[in-house]
Symmetry: C2
Subunit: 388 residues, 2 copies
């Protein structure tokens, strides 16, 4: 009864763990959430105020299908300010209800059945599901702990075929927290440019800004033959607002707009007003800096704690809010280990296998939680490991 | 470069007309909008207050992928209160970012390539685009002005094939404003139940509540082998909030949840809080009744005005906020006529051909605008027609 295209989409284990954790909570248990892929922070006050003002003034109607003009301009200014690039034109920006719908739109427009998209293993769990949904083929390239989970460009080159339509990069990465070195980004852009199939680079930049050493580089610094995916959820703690965007080459705008109009009509008007404040209100910068400072502190605390418990971390992650820790010492079945930690220690963690077969044997720990909660979670896991 | 599946999605002419109208406005022209598919009203105050309260209290995070529990319960209560049915279970309700994404999710889960979906011609412009996007086939059944643009069940029966996976009904309908008679709904449910391919009834109930004679019936009063699509945009004047929902049979929940999680993560948290108020806050009912009273008045005014100008309206529409008027006396090219009315008279109207080949020769007039603006629009069109 259900289509093949859905059967081949894997359920999103991270969400299942969260939902099981919530069940436990409804049953009166106290759960520490280290599985969450979203900031624990409240949205900064100036952004909230802009959302409230939009509601008050009646900005509660459909917007232009590509998004409100000031927000599209603000995105361009943000990119021009942050990276070493000429400002993109606002007409190249498409505002979406989160970055997930942006992936759906872009891949729907560009991936024919049988086309191949190269992505890392491990990777964000949903990425290959979009590809499979469209009848295209995810080609995964293993990435290695001892290499800081960075792509090896030579492995990408070896995986290119005449059907390679896109290479997906994600830096800082979910689940590994890895920042891709600029030399490697340049090399990937170059090998894509040289490949006969002229693959697009799809650059998932949703964790940009959440970087604790060096800085993230945009793919736009290396090539124009790319699509940038970004959004407000992570950096501005705006997950529930559902607001993302794409920056695309001019000739892709019109076909993608057709998809957007049909699937979504437009992104939410109130969220767009809030997003504009996120990029332009002078008070937001300090709030974001304060969040980053806290992530920085938690990151160090979690790295020390996990290593103390015996988890393996060969290279310290420097971005996003994840530590992808080697748990092979404890189990080779990460799903079972994660479920066991949840049921026994009442700590939510995400099994590495959720991110691809090469993630098996790892657990993803999120530090989008308070130092106090991280400390409590680590203590509970310590007791759990001692009692096994 | 762009996929076939996108090439075969028609651009959404209604939006193009709106965007051209906005261009004229930016150039300093005054345009009367009779092309809009959204309420001109502001969202009722109690709903806005609930959205503001959600922002204030920090409900700015992802929700459960199916939506917050109280909203799903409120949807069930709303259906049980409004229709002659046993209440659906909250687990059967999926909350989405508008009703368009709900169609995408449901059709993605149920339509295989080559499957057929029966829908009327004319129809809402996006409906067949979803079908074609998935490699399935829209089978259109002409509906006729002299029949009040209602389905003729015998025509549906004649169009059934072994590949018929679904029959789409939309009552009150866009673009015709037609309410489908309960006897015809019963007959359609019965013929679907008898058909060897056991097609689903997809019932687009987004205009429910906006009915000026008799009342709309839910498909759930006639069959369980159905999917209900509904949302908050039209009845509660909440288009910009992007909030819709589906009611589906229990065994479809899990596969559709997989699609929802991957494509959208969840609907917006603030919109969900607002939607809960729409269905439960005692002050909202009177606000909605006041809007309906105004639509009722505008409808009569527009019907008289359009007939006075020579447009043909064989059967008066009794729902939604549209009049689908025969304009053959003036032109057989509705797109050209609509563009000409926009450029010359500065009135936005939607060409009938946007809704299917059988809509050619008609124009859709929306009365989701003030009496004053409708009057001004009709005067301008009168002058335009006199000057041709």
């Amino acid at each position: 009864m259900i289509c093949d295209r859905i059967d081949c989409m894997k359920p999103f284990i991270a969400m299942d763990i969260l939902e099981r954790a919530q069940e436990l909570e409804r049953a009166g248990e106290h759960v520490v959430h280290l599985e969450l892929g979203e900031p624990d922070f409240d949205t900064p006050p100036a952004i909230k105020a802009a959302g409230i003002a939009a509601i008050r003034r009646g900005d509660t109607h459909y917007t232009h299908s590509l998004g409100i003009a000031p927000l599209r301009e603000a995105v361009c200014n943000h990119y021009a300010r942050t990276y070493d690039i000429d400002p993109p034109h606002p007409d190249q920006v498409l505002i979406t209800s989160g970055s997930s719908p942006a992936f759906l739109v872009a891949m729907s427009a560009l991936l024919e059945g049988g086309d191949e998209l190269i992505l890392s293993d491990p990777h964000y769990a949903c990425h290959p599901n979009f590809v499979r949904f469209l009848g295209a083929v995810p080609r995964t390239i293993p990435i290695y702990e001892d290499d800081g989970f960075q792509y090896r460009p030579e492995d990408i080159r070896a995986a290119l075929t005449p059907r390679t339509k896109a290479v997906l990069i994600n830096s800082p990465a979910n689940p590994t927290g890895t920042l891709l070195a600029p030399e490697r980004m340049a090399e990937i852009a170059q090998l894509a440019a040289d490949a006969p199939s002229r693959p697009w680079i799809f650059s998932d930049e949703i964790y940009h800004g959440l970087v604790y050493e060096n800085r993230a580089r945009s793919i736009l610094e290396f090539t124009d033959h790319c699509i940038v995916f970004n959004g407000f959820s992570k950096l501005f703690a705006m997950t529930g607002w559902r607001l993302g965007y794409m920056i695309v080459p001019p000739d892709l705008v019109r076909p993608m707009q057709t998809v957007l109009q049909n699937f979504f009509i437009s992104a939410g008007s109130i969220a767009q007003a809030a997003g504009l404040a996120a990029l332009t209100h002078p008070a937001v910068e300090a709030d974001v800096a304060a969040m980053i400072e806290q992530y920085r502190e938690r990151r160090l605390f979690m790295l020390v704690g996990l290593r103390g418990l015996g988890f393996g971390i060969a290279v310290e992650p420097t971005g996003a809010f994840y530590v992808f820790a080697n748990a092979r010492r404890f189990s080779n079945d990460s799903y079972r280990l994660a479920r066991d930690i949840l049921e026994t220690a009442k700590v939510g963690v995400t099994p590495g296998v959720d991110f691809g077969p090469h993630g098996e044997g790892y657990l993803r720990f999120s530090y989008a939680n308070s130092l106090e909660n991280i400390g409590e979670g680590l203590r509970r896991i310590e007791a759990y490991l001692a009692g096994r």
